[in-house]
């Protein structure tokens, strides 16, 4: 059951990443994929009877999740100030 839910969550996030053009929705999809990984980590740690190790890895994953979210949201604000849009397809120039 739990692995089915992990697969579904990962699929939902991936679906958003593939089909969405809104940069904020892309980040929501990425966050959902990270939730799926979190659930996999927690259920595996529970299955191995190693909650301490699971929690330690979870803290690392949480730090990565927060930093990715912060950088992505800063990127969103920057994109909006340049293009006045949240459409990812309008990012056609890499020139700073």
């Amino acid at each position: 059951m739990i692995f089915g839910v992990i697969g579904l969550l990962f699929f939902i996030g991936l679906y958003a990443l593939v089909f969405s053009r809104n940069v904020i929705r892309l980040l929501i999809g990425l966050e959902i994929m990270i939730k799926a990984v979190t659930l996999a980590l927690v259920s595996s740690a529970s299955g191995t009877q190693s909650p301490a190790l699971g929690q330690t890895f979870f803290v690392t994953l949480l730090v990565i999740e927060v930093i990715v979210a912060i950088i992505f949201l800063a990127f969103v604000i920057n994109v909006y100030s340049h293009t006045e849009s949240l459409d990812i397809r309008k990012l056609t120039q890499l020139r700073g």
């Binding site: 059951m1 969405s20 053009r21 959902i32 939730k35 912060i70 950088i71 949240l86």
Partner: protein, 174 residues
Amino acid sequence: MITPVLLLIVILATLAIYLNDLLLGAICLAGVSALLSWVIYQFGMPYAAVFELSVAAGLITVLFISTISLVKPAGQSERELGLEAGNPSPLPRLFEEDAREGKALKRLPLVVAILAILLWELRESWPSIRYAPAFDAPFAETLWHIRTVDLFGQITIILCGVFLVVHFFKERAS
């Protein structure tokens, strides 16, 4: 008891992508995090549950809502933000029809429901998982002594994040 909560997590995650309103999407994502923290607690990891609830459901949601407020003034629709449906897709022609965001995202609940039914029907054929031996040191000792290297990695990631955010918002010379 854990099964209905897991189903609720999937429903909220679907809504977070499906809803047109980004603010509601962010709130649904916070709901996913809050329910996930309950699941983590049920798995016997109270510290991780508290971190998930405070950081993922709290801090990240605040960041989301702040950003949405900054980039989307009240009453402004996605159409006005240049996200109207029906524009050509950047994906290959094979997926061009489906890649139109509006249609594709509207189909998401149906796709998730079909996938869930398929997974449920095939549950007997899932491979069994063999777990590694138990590791039973206390959490504090594991975090501060056994996995000390992870802390250096975390500090490095945080510094990289700070550097990037500073770089994003620095004043331009011109």
